[in-house]
């Protein structure tokens, strides 16, 4: 929620849903830059904030939003009650700043609904052991919404954001990108995983497990968005539903690593310990006795990853460590891929015809990703969008 005008707009929409006869439970995120401002204050005080106190600090952002949204609903003449995550029954483990939801106790929410209240729950947060406030980390508000929808048996969970749905490619880059009316959980998870920022993979995974239908839509306009749900496999469906590009990628290569068991474990354990997510990994033997280990991380993590890998590399007697921040990743996703042979070949062919060199390839059952020069990224998205005819309905 960006500001007071946006809160009013959301209140009006919730009231409309109530008028249509629905019980309404809303989950809110923090307003505008509130979370960043709180983090900046913490940063001014210390480089290594206590994660417990960070959670106490950050949770206030959503609490403010929930109270204001409830007041906005009141001002329209409707009853509303604001609840913190803990009051809303979001019970988590004690993993401050990245807590997992252990259980949802919807008793209080049901009680408030029975009283005729529109219930507004502060997202992104819960209560952990010892009654301490926890936050759920990235995508936490979406996760809260899905968890509550599941616990309450809601038929659909609207997730309102600043885009109005899931597109076949980023519409800012590909002019004829098309909004998808429906997408399967699996495809949405892959899209999120490879860098589509519309919805967090975590919330989609939870929705998939709990069979909650997500309606991803704009918080500015009232039109339909994209439904994320179980989609029966249909023959002759298009093999690819979307192309995603992610410029936030950097490549690290540790050269001439002695080829011994446990080497990969040493490297990636050290990175995981530091909380760095590693994406693509390639290990390629150049000589008999040594290999190169290449992986990608987000650009924000690059310098820390280099420090760690250099240290591990010295211990292992590796030949050195280089990085390239001028790379990007382009991916195609589609459940139909498994039953349409030759999709990978078509992808590589389209890139080759456009003179785009592929550095690394990684795949899942329903996805193919290529690491390429960052400068080629937008051309690659457009070429693949055309190749798989995604602009056509």
């Amino acid at each position: 929620m960006a500001d007071i005008a946006r809160i009013r707009h959301v209140a009006a929409r919730l009231v409309r849903a109530k008028d249509e006869g629905h019980d309404v439970v809303a989950v809110v995120s923090a307003m505008g830059d509130v979370t960043d401002e709180l983090l900046e204050m913490a940063r001014q005080l210390t480089d290594r904030p206590s994660r417990r106190e960070l959670d106490m600090l950050l949770a206030t952002g959503e609490q403010v939003s929930s109270a204001l949204l409830a007041l906005a609903i009141n001002s329209l003449g409707y009853r509303a009650v604001a609840l913190t995550g803990g009051q809303g029954g979001i019970i988590t483990d004690g993993g401050f700043t990245r807590a997992r939801i252990l259980k949802v106790d919807p008793a209080r929410i049901r009680e408030e609904m029975a009283r005729g209240n529109i219930v507004v729950v502060a997202g992104f947060q819960g209560v952990g052991p010892g009654n301490d406030i926890t936050t759920l980390g990235r995508g936490g508000s979406d996760a809260t919404a899905v968890a509550l929808a599941a616990a309450l048996g809601a038929p659909v969970c609207d997730i309102c954001t600043d885009v109005d749905g899931v597109y076949t490619a980023d519409p800012r880059v590909v002019r004829n990108a098309r909004k998808l009316p429906v997408i399967s959980y699996e495809e949405m998870m892959e899209l999120a995983y490879v860098g589509a920022r519309v919805l967090q993979a975590r919330a989609v995974e939870m929705a998939s497990q709990q069979r909650v239908v997500i309606h991803l839509r704009s918080s500015f306009s009232d039109g339909p968005g994209t439904l994320v749900k179980e989609v029966p496999a249909v023959e002759n469906a298009k093999p690819v539903v979307g192309v995603v590009h992610d410029p936030d990628v950097a490549r690290v290569t540790l050269l001439s690593v002695p080829d011994r068991p446990g080497v990969a474990h040493r490297i990636f354990y050290a990175l995981a310990e530091a909380g760095i997510n590693v994406d693509m990994i390639v290990q390629s033997t150049r000589h008999e006795a040594s290999t190169d280990v290449l992986f990608t991380v987000s650009r924000a993590d690059l310098m820390q990853a280099m420090e760690i890998v250099q240290a591990v590399g010295r211990e292992l007697g590796a030949g050195g460590c280089v990085f390239d921040a001028g790379v990007g990743k382009v991916s195609i996703v589609g459940s139909g891929m498994a039953t349409h042979p030759g999709v990978a070949a078509r992808m590589f062919g389209a890139l080759a015809r456009n003179g785009i060199n592929i550095q690394v390839i990684s795949t899942s059952e329903i996805r193919i990703s290529c690491l390429i020069d960052a400068a080629d990224l937008e051309r690659a998205v457009t070429a693949l969008h055309d190749e798989f005819e995604l602009g056509l309905g």
Copy 2:
């Protein structure tokens, strides 16, 4: 707490107290204008905010302060834990926006102290029935501090504010006003009651009941302030310890009210229902059958009080209703008054010699207050400060 620099300063002071061997529990208020900003957002949404949701909103201000102060203490290499009012064991009734503390359960605080933590509790708030967040209303942070000091058996409760103690008069008005090293609970309560803004009467009352010594001092500097404690009566003590002036006063007069039983009840019950505090009250018979009823309220409440009294006046068949916002109150306070005859006469004499007309007089055992023209207020304070020789040590 005003800003990040102030938080650092407070952290340093708490760490010093810890180094001196004390267990340290701090109670914090919201930073700078945070509370006003939150209220302003609520006001933009509705004229009649739900008090429950207002409390959820406002409580975040102190929660942010507590988390940041704990982080600041961490950054000095000390252990600290931030607690909301509820986590700190402040149990209140359900009177949102002006909850009363019912009980303090200091178990969690003791536990954290035993772990070596400096404990930082969000003031002004607690948890009421149904686990709802409540706020304590004006002076709530001071009340939290005193309640916790009592529950923990602390020898002294420092209350740090933007003044460095209690003065014989407002030093901005009276040049030779003197800081009092010690003042009794009773005197401090009267000073607070008549408009000294240094400490809320509520916190002093609680301290008096629980025999907690308050050390009122500056949050900017480390010098001693004023101790508020039980002071044995000493003969020959000065009859007056301080002069307080309060410009935030307005006078309302309901004219020619039929003189029947229950009339005063009707008027003041209606004002109390609206949450308006009435201070001085005078009822004076002019004719046999009717009286004038005069009272004072704070200027912020004047318009609402007029509306209420006009409505009640019409029902009662009163002659009309007038107000004067150009008045102020000057008061002298001192426990010695009871044993020094002639204090009132000296006060009235000093005002008369300075040509200051007295409109209304009210007294307690240890206080005399006069309603006068607002224009005379500062001259009156100076004259009374001189009359009772308060500038001399």
